[in-house]
Symmetry: C2
Subunit: 340 residues, 2 copies
């Protein structure tokens, strides 16, 4: 007989996935963007078990942010078509990706990254184009020349990518629409000069707005967070951190979920049935809406999922959204760190 | 013959300790607070190798924030006198601490935490007193009664603790002095009612101001960060994240050190020879002060050390502060996570 354990009984802090919301999110996205129209980004969840769920719904091409993520996906057999949507110049890590036997495509945006990829035995690339956010990507007008030089170096150029990261989080949908159109006009201009079939772009906030891209790199939709939750998307919050109340005062309570269990770049998390005051290394101080006792479980919703998950080693899977839900499985967060 | 490797050759992002600054910090603190006057907090570095360096300078009593930190310290033989300066109610983790064979003292601030400690076989406690920051700790006026009930439950009460966390980061020294005095007046009031020999308090920002405490729980002094660096303390920045430039544009450059390599609750890090614009999951965008090329190493100074370290598995040790320094050792960050 298997012991039945509730979310409330977990050692804390612990990441918990509500499998109902998670399945809803994956199904909703698959209905909107079937098969290769979505290239799920694994950086959000860093978990091959989640990637398998995405593959089971028809999305077998994946986006990665680090060589480790890509090599880990290949080792897990999720190797049909893996894109490193990032610049890499480390020869050892590029060679490790090339040696996986997976179909590997890497982004390039400079002669230095072309040379690094070619020297390491990478065969296929996308030209990364800056479509408005000051990060990686060449200027649209430079893309064609860079593609020519990549081909001269023996690389197969599959097309372009350009992430409208300055747009995906905008609160107003019509503003997201207008700015996505402007960004994609730049990317199409580059694609016309580069050639190839792939126009890879987009994120959770523009998944149904960006109809220019041939594939969308969304990742956060699977688990969501409070930042994306404010956009009115059809995806539900599926990830919480369960914590334990360790102190109760007249005006506030304290639970054991702090800065080392939460990505804080988007600000404080929210907490169910309470208002967050601040976080310390191992604590969250909050004003509860109704009386709590030491030992009570509470659920914290991270403001930003990606850097939250990178602090944890396991997802606990539960059959519902609250602390009385039963645990049904646990998945390793196996793509963390940077070693290949 | 051992291969000599420079900081600039490390796979990135990587945490690097400048051993000169690190030794200076430990020596400076030992000169100010000898032996048991300092109870170093291991939460800042989560590394038993660093704790050994602190012990080698005479500080053999340590402060921990999690049961995992305490159990890990005990297993490493650093078990003379370990304080869990935090509330714990998880029976398994409390029992794991009690079973280490170390001298273990835990903070208690409620009848629930007294009962949890006693039931798990913990023998010694400190009464945690709220001295002004809304987090754990009982009201000063409740400390005596709680100590009586702890003793009635069979626990040895060694004294009190009360962390002036609302004071340690204040920019103005005279304000730190005044507010430390006010906080410690509350703690002394509680100590008079509780009894015992220990008055445990303080942090890096008040290590030489808090002369009331019998022991100071400072941790950040060993490695420092940009927040504490602004206080004019005699400790030097000893921790950097080395990153690689992966993109260069006319007005900015991008390196591979982002939100998953940095604690962001104190805001953006700083970068040597540049001005930080923003961080993404795996990127830092910054305006360099002089031209950079793709592949160049850059050094990033975290705004907050503690949650930065919790993202990494190794400290690389270097014989100087810049990227040409030679690597001389690597230490595992072995107290991460929460499992015991």
């Amino acid at each position: 007989m298997i012991a039945r354990v509730r979310v409330a009984e977990l050692p804390t802090p612990a990441l918990v996935i509500d499998t109902g919301a998670f399945a809803h999110n994956l199904d909703t996205m698959s209905a909107a963007l079937a098969g290769s129209r979505l290239r799920p980004h694994v950086k959000a969840h860093k978990c091959t078990a989640i990637a398998r769920e995405q593959a089971a719904r028809g999305h077998v091409n994946f986006t990665c942010a680090t060589p480790r993520e890509l090599v880990g996906m290949a080792r897990a057999g999720l190797d049909d078509d893996l894109l490193l949507a990032n610049q890499a110049v480390d020869p050892d890590r590029l060679q490790a990706m090339a040696a996986t036997g997976a179909r590997v495509t890497v982004a390039i945006d400079s002669d230095a990254t072309v040379e690094a990829a070619a020297a390491a035995g990478i065969q296929e690339v996308l030209v990364d184009v800056n479509v408005g956010m000051p990060r990686c990507g060449c200027a649209p007008g430079e893309a064609g020349g860079l593609a020519d030089r990549a081909r001269a170096r023996g690389l197969e150029v599959r097309g372009v990518m350009g992430y409208e990261g300055h747009v995906v989080g905008l609160a107003d949908r019509s503003e997201r629409e207008d700015k996505t159109a402007a960004a994609m006009a730049k990317l199409v201009h580059a694609r016309d000069a580069v050639g190839g079939e792939i126009v890879s772009a987009g994120g959770t906030g523009t998944y149904d707005i960006n109809t220019t891209a041939t594939e969308i790199q969304a990742g956060s939709y699977a688990l969501m967070d409070t930042a994306y939750g404010a956009l009115g998307l059809p995806f539900r919050p599926a990830l919480r951190v369960v914590a334990t109340v360790i102190h109760v005062s007249a005006k506030y309570a304290v639970a054991d979920c702090g800065l080392k269990a939460l990505g804080m770049d988007h600000g404080n998390p929210t907490i169910e049935h309470g208002d967050v005051w601040f976080c310390s290394d191992e604590h969250i101080t909050f004003a509860p809406h109704s009386p709590l006792r030491v030992g009570d479980p509470v659920l914290v919703h991270p403001a930003h999922v990606d850097p939250t998950i990178a602090y944890h080693s396991l997802f606990q899977l539960a059959d519902g959204p609250d602390v009385d839900a039963m645990l049904i499985d646990a998945w390793e967060i196996d793509l963390r760190g940077w070693s290949v």
